[in-house]
Amino acid sequence: MFKLAARLAWRDWRGGELSLLFAALLLAITSVTSISLFTHHVKQAMVSQGADLIAADLRLNSSQALPEDWAVQARNLSIQQAHVSQFQAMVFADNGMQLASVKAVSNHYPLRGELSVGGAAFDQGIVIAHGPKQGDIWPDSRLLASLNASVNDSINVGDLSLTISRVLITEPDQASGFASFAPRAMMHLSDIAATHAVQTGSRITHRWLLAGDKSALTSLQQQITPLLSSGQRWQSPTDGNANMAATLDKAEQFLLLAGSLAVVLAGVALSLSARRYSLRQAKHVALLKCLGLKPKQLRLLYLSQMVLLALFVLIISLPLAWGLYQGLTLLMVDYIQTSSSTPALAPFILGAGTGVLCLLAFVLPPMLALAKVAPAEVLRQSSNQKKANIGHLAIGFGAVILLVYWHSQSLLISSALILGVVVILLLLALLTHQLIKLGNTIRPHLGQGAKIGWANLVRRKHQNSLQVAIFGLALMLLFSLVSVRSFLIDDWRQQLTQDTPNLFLFNIYQEQRQSLLGSMKQQGLTTEGLTFFPIARARLAKPKVDNPRGDRELNLTWSKALPAGNSISQGRWWHNSSTAPLEVSIEADYAKSMGLGLGQTLTFNVAGIEKNAILSNLRKVDWSSMQPNFFFVFSQPLVEANSASYMASVYIAPKDRSKLGPLLREQPTISMLDVDQVLQQVQRVVTQLSLAVEGILIMVLGAGILVLVASIQASIDERRHESAILRTLGASKALIRSILLVEYASLGFVAGLIAGLGAEAVVAVLQNQLFQMPVQLHWPLWVLTPFIGMILIGACGWWFNRSVITTPPLRTLKQT
């Protein structure tokens, strides 16, 4: 039976019967596999970018020294390790002294990311593979400037004299929050003891950097986690940077969404081509039954054929997907880089699994049902065009739900998509029906071709409703994806405009503000957009909150106006702040975690004085704005103006970075946090992700076009037959062409119109629920989509129906 199946399959293939089914399955597996491979690659790149930010694949932060045997355990698992200890110490030079944040690193630091050094302060950095050797110290530009020292000078950290061998320009794990305002000095870990700067009870942070195989790291993490004390916690690349994490998260959601759409589209294409194939096979089956094949044998025959087809497609599609993915990554090699290039097995399993499941759900049911074709069918002159089987549709729909969930692993994406699909299908079918009815009334006023075209539309209204539903569905999914891509990329780009602040200034006293502005102007630095935020330090005294965050000393500010990038989520911003009692505004998530509610009176301890404030509103804060953001904002000053300190943020262009040294020398007491490197990393990731999103979009567009083609092919036999009859009746090629154009363009117009509205709804749900972004309406979409649908489907219909016009009518009639 298998031999017969193979022979028949080969003959069907040769005759072109299997080509559309083959193409649909090929596209399903290739697109899903390549999208999955690419997603995997992008994720790896994201993790690798994140890894750069912590200089490792995994990091353990600890306030105490780590047990020796942990390092042994890591070594046994072949994990690379490095140690970093960070503490504050006074650094002395001949011409000055400065409190510095000293970072002592072991030999293998950094495990991920790049360290760059220069020969003078604010130099362009040169990448270097390791940290300073024993006896050397690398101060950063700020420290060098404030010590008035230069390379080859000796400086002291505690009791130890070290030689400045280079200037530290960038370090991968610089973005360790806003905690370390002091300038940096990097030295070797083994020199710590000789400094005598670290004594029992000194504040020192230990970081254990790990890199290596993911499973080994997971296993080590599992072994060590139960042994951790309260001051020890793991840090993974993704929680390295909140801003980056949010961006990566959105990108990942997009990729999952796109992958799921590709699956839905491929499923629809497969289902359509399977239906056409099975309709064309009905007579074959009847004949084979006449020749004595039993239903059981026929089922086995078609099952074997499908297995053969699946194997054949897998053999071609998996390498093809690999090739596509390689091509795409090659195109983006400058933008998306990963440390590991090992091909992952999971995407291939996912792609092949999706193909097999699609085959089982969409293709096999109609194939197996063929065994039920009555053998007497062979005696009938005309073929019996059966309506779609509800049971088969239900199986296919169930499979789509399963596949979307498998791909997205998200109930939200799955339910939004499925609901969107159901609603759009119903709406489309209903509306098409009504529009075709309406067309009936205008038909008498149309030209000859348009008249027949409309008559065809009306005659096939059930079939057309289905076809419009499929066109509409494919277009809706494509429009949705295009708009999600646009708003996502816009959002990312807006997040990081060219002049996003990259330098934070702290410890500025009131009287220093003017002199700082003066110094900056003198150095030729821009002061545009520079706003000073007053800061006071305080503790929440009442209510006592059972949360470690509540016990901490907080940085507070006060302001008459709502800070930029903030929005009120509950309550109202104050209007008359000078006379009213003291009010406070708290960041919404923070208030929630502390259990604080609107209208509550809170007591703060500000430098020993208790102050009561009413919690009058909760704010949403855009943490990715890179502007100074505060958990607590008060309506009135908490301390006297002259005892408050201020902070500010400003953008320093690359060409102006060398002016920071002189500025610091002029304003030695002001602390500075340079986040330029972090910003550049984020910008790089955004560029990479934007490109990745474009790449994926192209693949999904391919899947969408295939659905359109499959749908057009599904009715091509009937159209070919009708055209042949019309031509024998004397219709010109031009007339048939105009009939086809009217039919497809009208279907496309309706499909585009509804798809535009559907896409708007889907995008709104996704924006609101999945991407947590404000909902925007895209009215140009509503106007454009009907025309896009008309042109796209009109063109596809015309192109794929060329043979309808060019095939001699006699041949068509002979074949049917």
Binding site: R11, R14, G15, L287, L291, G292, P375, L379, R811
Partner: protein, 233 residues
């Protein structure tokens, strides 16, 4: 297999199709109480006007469809007691067909179409045997042509070759000349009877071609679902 049962027969066969828009009284009676027996080796023509139920009766005799009432015998087996699986098995060994619209698979060449019944039976030298039959019908040079590259007469010759290649003792033919012009039809009739004699096949054919019906040993006439035997006077 019991030889007490007839070789090929219909006993009180009726076929009724329910009319969905009417009551039982308006059901469509395609065949009414049809009775006849055919002996092995006989050639029988079933004649009648279009819509008289000829093709339905042929399909039932070949086990392609089941009657609403009555019994049917094929190769001494009671078809009405068999399920689709067993009927298929019986067809495989006992029955061959020729159709009005040829029913050649469009994706198969002429030779492959003839090979098909042999492959279904699992015959080893299907290719060589099919080639012989193709030569027999005078199309030895057209083996690699597809059905759409052949004329109607040529297609029917391929269908005849396919039917005889099956080497079945009973051959059913549904209007074998219905789609052909008179001259081609004549050639096809000659070929059909020549092969029939060579293979000693029992031939049951449906036709309204008088010339064709005259070539058969017996003629059964169907009128509004009722059967009568025509006797030469």
């Amino acid at each position: 297999m019991s030889h007490a049962t007839p070789f090929l027969a219909a006993q009180n066969v009726s076929q009724i199709v329910a009319n969905p828009q009417a009551t039982q009284a308006h059901d469509l009676h395609i065949l009414r109480d049809v009775n006849f027996t055919i002996e092995a080796g006989q050639s029988v023509a079933i004649v009648g006007a279009s819509g008289s139920g000829k093709t339905t009766l042929l399909g039932m005799l070949a086990g392609l469809d089941s009657p609403s009432h009555g019994q049917l015998f094929l190769a001494h087996e009671d078809l009405t007691l068999m399920d689709e699986e067993s009927r298929a098995e019986l067809r495989k060994h006992q029955v061959a067909f020729i159709f009005q619209n040829f029913q050649l698979l469009p994706s198969l060449t002429a030779l492959e179409n003839i090979m098909l019944p042999l492959e279904v039976k699992g015959t080893d030298n299907a290719n060589a045997l099919a080639g012989q039959y193709l030569n027999h019908v005078g199309l030895g040079q057209r083996g690699h042509h597809y059905p759409h590259q052949l004329s109607g007469g040529e297609q029917q010759r391929v269908a005849i070759a396919r039917a005889f290649a099956a080497q079945a003792p009973i051959l059913f033919a549904d209007e074998p000349t219905g789609n052909l012009d008179t001259q081609t039809g004549h050639h096809i009739i000659e070929l059909l009877f020549e092969l029939n004699q060579q293979h000693h096949t029992t031939l049951v054919l449906v036709t309204h071609d008088v010339q064709l019906a005259q070539r058969c040993q017996r003629r059964l006439s169907l009128t509004a679902g009722q059967l009568t035997e025509l006797v030469d006077v």
